[in-house]
């Protein structure tokens, strides 16, 4: 069993070697260390998966990490069905992206640094999913945030990249603030941080309340909402979504691996992992579902009008993550994880495909300056279309299965569920529209870039296209792990596999309704395609007309609802101003230092006055003496 510890350890070793010796010795051979390490992790992960599939659950404690009074927490690992799936997703996609990066990052002066950070990320992400307690989970959680910071700011000489990295870390800290308190509250409630113990005792506190700042709050709801704060930050849900689009400053393989396939899904993993807790609180569940639903439509609407190819995909990611939370919130945990798993493949593919485009165009990311790339980059175009068919939910590809399950579970879960289903369906329409818009703008029509760029247009090398093909394979077939029972009895293998950890959702609804939901989602997928086709292929003047007709709406969407501007005005600027002008300028300097320097100055001023009495002139002293004598005599004579 101990060999499974190597799964995270191998990438860690690769990191240590590359970061220490990369600059002077390994240089552009860094992938010779990183790629085998992560590939071996993948093989070990497969073996762990097989082991779990045969009915074992691996739970090992390595050593006591922190001991203080009654508080104990270990470094320990749990590989159950949920972790096994995550292991496969993380290591398989990492391996492909590592290989892709050999080509994509070729010639970059930070080549060794790139592979170091990427390896450290894989280590951290594996710790996150393999932890058997909340604090080690938190360790992985923060460590992936650290790697994200490094990799977003990889080209740190660019101010925008440095800003984006910092922003990502700090925004995430807001979520982690709640998450950390949640972890503490879990221990204070259950006396342990280990999953097995906490979850088996989960129900024992149902109905208990806790006094927070004078009002009684349902304890389990509070715990869940605090934990969910962390998920909102890491998975870029509203209102903490602002960091993810900026995170596109990082190299494209990073966007694919960290900001699409793995790290940003950690929040989904967290909620799924804690399903025994969440299931006990209606309030918490509804919060998860609503935050997810609202975020998904919010982000999708922004994605409709963006021009930066990576930003479109980034908003798409935020939106799809919202979908996953929507699923979790209606109790369909395995549907959420299923979508996490299929999304990882098609979204990584979209990012890497866009990377291939950006690479060919010499770092151009504006889609308005692309067009007609179809004939120059046939492989990239083909995989892009596959990923788009998959994400829009066209039957037969991965995305269809998971998306359909989410919509059906939402629909069948009750009143709120129906509303969420409607929301999800509108999002599906938008998703289809912006995804096809991306394809049409990038690959169809005439090339709108410079001649220089056109002259250099080429398909990417094999080291880039082969990983794309593998991912395309996943984007088509990964979904067959969860065929709806409506189509194939016992087809929902992944749901059954995850059953022991995530339970089985119970909804109500007839077959007829299920077919109706399915038909609707296919219909909107086609509808979205048709809309984009009309606007961007048939009548290319239409977008401009639409913009001039709906200018305020367009501006609102194009400027991302001005959320960044609002945060800057309401939080960032006032905090900086207050710390400078009020806390430092007024309180520290004027008041405290005023007193500290004032007292000695006062004493000094007094003594200066007294010093002046001593003039050194005899006549003065004589006068004072005489006056004094007179006073005493007068006192004796008249008052005695």
């Amino acid at each position: 069993m101990l060999k499974y510890i190597l799964i995270p350890l191998l990438p860690l070793i690769a990191f240590i070697i590359n970061i220490l010796f990369g600059r002077n010795f390994i240089k552009d051979k860094a992938h010779w260390i990183a790629v085998p390490a992560v590939a071996c992790s993948f093989i070990l992960a497969l073996s762990a998966f097989m082991n779990v599939a045969s009915g074992n659950v691996i739970n090992i404690n390595v050593y006591n990490w922190i001991v203080s009074g009654t508080f104990t927490v270990t470094i320990g690992f749990l590989i159950d069905q949920l972790t096994a799936i995550m292991l496969i997703v993380v290591t398989s996609i990492s391996t492909l992206i590592f290989i892709y990066s050999i080509g994509y990052m070729h010639g970059d002066k930070g080549y060794y640094r790139f592979f170091s950070y990427l390896s450290l990320f894989v280590f951290s992400m594996l710790i996150l999913v393999m932890a058997n307690n909340f604090l080690l989970l938190y360790f992985g959680w923060e460590a992936v945030g650290l790697c994200s910071y490094f990799l977003i700011g990889f080209w740190y000489e660019k101010k925008s990249a440095a800003n984006a990295g910092k922003k990502a870390f700090i925004v995430n800290r807001f979520g982690d603030f709640g998450f950390g308190l949640g972890v503490i509250l879990v221990f204070l409630t259950y006396g342990s941080l280990e999953y097995t113990q906490v979850f088996s005792d989960a129900g024992s506190i149902a109905g208990q309340t806790i006094n927070i700042f004078g009002s009684d709050v349902d304890l389990i709801t509070l715990i869940c909402l605090l934990l969910f704060c962390g998920a909102v930050g890491k998975s870029a849900q509203m209102p903490l979504h602002v960091w993810l689009p900026d995170a596109m400053e990082g190299p494209t393989p990073v966007s694919a691996l960290i900001h699409a396939a793995t790290m940003v899904t950690a929040g989904v993993f967290l909620v799924a992992r804690c399903n025994p807790l969440f299931s006990l609180s209606h309030t918490a569940m509804n919060t998860v579902a609503i935050v997810g639903g609202v975020t998904s439509i919010f982000a999708a609407s922004i994605g409709l009008v963006q021009n930066d190819i990576k930003r479109v995909i980034a908003y798409s990611t935020v939106s799809q993550l919202g979908y996953m939370f929507l699923a979790l919130g209606v109790g369909a945990y395995s549907a959420g994880i299923f979508h996490l798993y299929t999304h990882a493949y098609f979204k990584a593919l979209l990012f890497l495909g866009s990377g291939s485009v950006i690479h060919a165009l010499g770092n151009e990311q504006n889609m308005q300056k692309m067009g007609g790339l179809k004939k120059y980059m046939p492989v990239t175009y083909a995989v892009f279309v596959i990923a788009t068919l998959s994400i829009t939910g066209i039957p037969g590809l991965s995305g269809f299965f998971s998306k359909d399950e989410i919509l059906w579970r939402a629909y069948s879960s009750g009143e709120l569920g129906k509303v969420l289903w409607l929301l999800g369906t509108i999002v599906a329409l938008m998703t289809a529209f912006y995804s096809w818009r991306l394809i049409f703008l990038t690959f169809h029509g005439k090339f709108r870039g410079t001649h220089e760029q056109e002259h250099h247009l080429h398909e990417s090398p094999k080291v880039i296209t082969v990983p794309l093909m593998f991912l395309a394979f996943g984007a088509i077939f990964a979904g067959y792990a969860g065929i709806p029972p409506l189509i194939l009895e016992h087809g929902d293998k992944i749901g059954e596999f995850l059953g022991p950890v995530l339970g089985h959702p119970h909804g109500e609804g007839s077959h007829l309704e299920e077919i109706m939901v399915m038909m609707t989602s296919v219909l909107v997928a086609v509808g979205g395609w048709y809309g984009a086709y009309i606007m961007y292929v048939k009548k290319p003047d239409m977008p401009l007309e639409a913009v001039s007709k709906f200018t305020p709406l367009y501006n609102l969407l194009f400027n991302k609802y001005y959320v960044d501007e609002i945060y800057d005005k309401v939080f960032v600027k006032p905090t900086l101003k207050m710390s400078d002008k009020v806390v430092l300028g007024f309180f520290d300097v004027k008041i405290i230092e005023g007193i500290v320097n004032g007292v000695p100055n006062l004493v000094g001023a007094f003594s200066k006055k007294f010093r002046e009495i001593q003039t050194g002139m005899l006549s003065n002293y004589g006068l004072v003496m005489a006056l004094g004598a007179l006073c005493i005599i007068g006192y004796v004579i008249f008052l005695k």
Binding site: I66, G69, F139, E157, K166, L181, F187, S579, L584, I592
Partner: protein
């Protein structure tokens, strides 16, 4: 004496640790050659460190009692003894003191060119005095060390400091002295109230009237709060730190400001348990204000050293927050955080000193793009940045987490408020890092202008032990936590059993005061 166990080693290890540096200082008086002075000091500090190591290795971790004790009559008519020993808390700070002293000598190797002999004498005497403070078990002895420490420190700032050094040195001295004088009054009162003895352990077993505890707590508080430094008596620290030479800043941040928190643990907790309970909430309030206030000021700082100095105010807020949470997680976290702060902030000041030798500026805006210019330096600095932010895997996380845990357990509101410091901390440290290391290199530096060079071997050696400790504690904090478990447990038991049972009763006693 039931609280004392005798020396496990057959030689007076603690006396050696204190007096070897003094002996070294005396030796330096007879030297002229600066190279010889540096090497001698280095050897003396290293020897002191080696001599102090058996304190850790032979320490009995199962007991709270004083160990390696030495006790001799000194001034019998006033029942003053030469009485020293360590427990699970002080032993850690002896270790930190002897370790940081070596690094202070190393980092000053090229930075100090002026009055080299006097400088090293000051370093050695301050080392001896600081060690003495941590191991004294007699109030008279303690007070001598406590005050003795001020003189070389005053000189370090006032002679080898920056342009505004005289103001900073006097401010430091007066600030500390005001607190110390009140403590001296407190000690004299204790002497009479506790049965004409200055034995710290014996005085800790007496149960003083609540009214007396109240005033004595405040008298000692004056001395300790200035040292910590707690809000609002912190303003000496930024000036002292900024003006002090690198070695001085390291000593200040690493050891000297730990003495305030140590004083609370050694004196206030065992001697005035009722007052401690009574003042718990006010202390937590001041701690939380310190955490948030210090962090906010950091956001506004334009000077590298001043920023780190104010971050100390914030970090030391966690220390007092943990200690006054009055539970084992908070207290152990607080003590560990003292150690962590010594390691992280000590290392940060070493790093700033190292870069200052090259750039001769502390203004953040003069930097920029240093990750390109001095990559190894930048790599080490980012580790410190994240240790300071409290990222898991580093020592900062363990301390901060235990403190927040303890605070939340004790009084939820303070746990929540203190946790906001985690966000602000990330804000000011990452912003600092960006301004110094990221973006395009500042045209002032680099080839053709002002030459910069990356870390050399001496500097790497200076920094290495602290970086090792960051990760060792981060992954296996038991290395140090295991020393303090019994001591902390005993202290808390003492507070909980000795203190009057009900808060109401304390309040009633205190009503008489007003």
């Amino acid at each position: 004496m039931e609280n004392v166990i005798l020396n496990q080693l057959n030689y007076p290890v603690l006396s050696y640790t204190v007096f070897l540096p003094v002996l070294g200082a005396l030796l330096l008086l007879f030297m002229r050659n600066t190279a010889m002075i540096r090497w001698t000091t280095l050897l003396v500090t290293m020897a002191t460190f080696v001599i102090s190591l058996p304190l850790l290795t032979n320490f009995d971790k199962t007991t709270y009692k004083m160990q390696f004790v030495e006790r001799h009559q000194w001034i019998p008519s006033w029942s003053i003894n030469y009485f020293i020993g360590v427990d699970g808390i002080s032993v850690l700070f002896v270790f930190l003191t002897t370790l940081l002293s070596i690094l202070c000598v190393l980092v000053s190797w090229k930075a100090i060119e002026n009055k080299v002999k006097e400088f090293h004498i000051a370093i050695l005497t301050v080392e001896a005095a600081m060690t003495g403070v941590f191991i004294s078990l007699d109030f008279f002895l303690f007070y001598i060390f406590w005050e003795a420490m001020l003189i070389p420190m005053f000189l370090l700032i006032g002679v080898w400091g920056g342009p505004n050094r005289v103001y900073a040195a006097i401010k430091f001295f007066l600030y500390t002295l005001v607190g110390s004088v009140l403590m001296l009054v407190g000690i004299i009162v204790l002497y009479f109230a506790g049965g004409n003895t200055l034995d710290i352990l014996t005085l800790g077993t007496v149960h003083y009237p609540v009214k007396l505890q109240f005033w004595l707590f405040l008298a000692f508080f004056a001395a300790f709060a200035v040292k910590v430094p707690m809000f609002p008596v912190h303003t000496w620290l930024p000036d002292a730190h900024t003006e002090a030479p690198t070695a001085g800043s390291v000593i200040l941040a690493g050891v000297l400001i730990k003495m305030g928190a140590y004083g609370f643990l050694r004196f206030s907790m065992p001697m005035f348990p009722d007052a401690v309970r009574f003042f718990m909430t006010p202390m937590l309030v001041l701690s939380v204000i310190g955490i948030v206030y210090g962090a906010l000021v950091c956001l506004a700082q334009k000077d590298l050293k001043r920023l780190i100095a104010y971050s100390s105010v914030s970090h030391m807020g966690y220390v007092t927050l943990g200690i006054f949470a009055l539970n084992s997680q908070g207290m152990e976290g607080g003590i560990l955080q003292m150690l962590n702060h010594g390691i992280i902030t000590g290392a940060l000041f070493l790093m700033i000193g190292i870069i200052y030798e090259r750039t001769h500026t502390r203004v953040i805006a003069d930097y920029g793009g240093f990750a390109t210019l001095v990559p190894w330096y930048a790599g080490l600095f980012i580790i410190l940045t994240f240790a300071s932010i409290g990222l898991p895997g580093t020592n900062g996380f363990i301390g901060e987490f235990l403190v927040l845990f303890g605070a939340f357990k004790a009084q939820k509101l303070f746990g929540v408020l203190a946790a906001t410091g985690v966000i602000l901390g990330a804000g000011y440290m990452l912003w600092l890092y960006q301004r110094v290391f990221f973006e395009t290199p500042n045209p002032n530096w680099g080839p053709g202008h002002h030459p910069l060079w990356d870390l050399d071997l001496r500097e790497v050696i200076t920094l290495a032990p602290l970086f090792a400790l960051i990760f060792v504690i981060g992954f296996y904090p038991e290395v140090f936590l295991s020393y303090m478990h019994p001591t902390v447990e005993n202290l808390l038991k003492h507070i909980n059993t000795h203190a009057f049972a009900g808060e109401g009763l304390i309040a009633k006693h205190l009503m008489e005061i007003f």
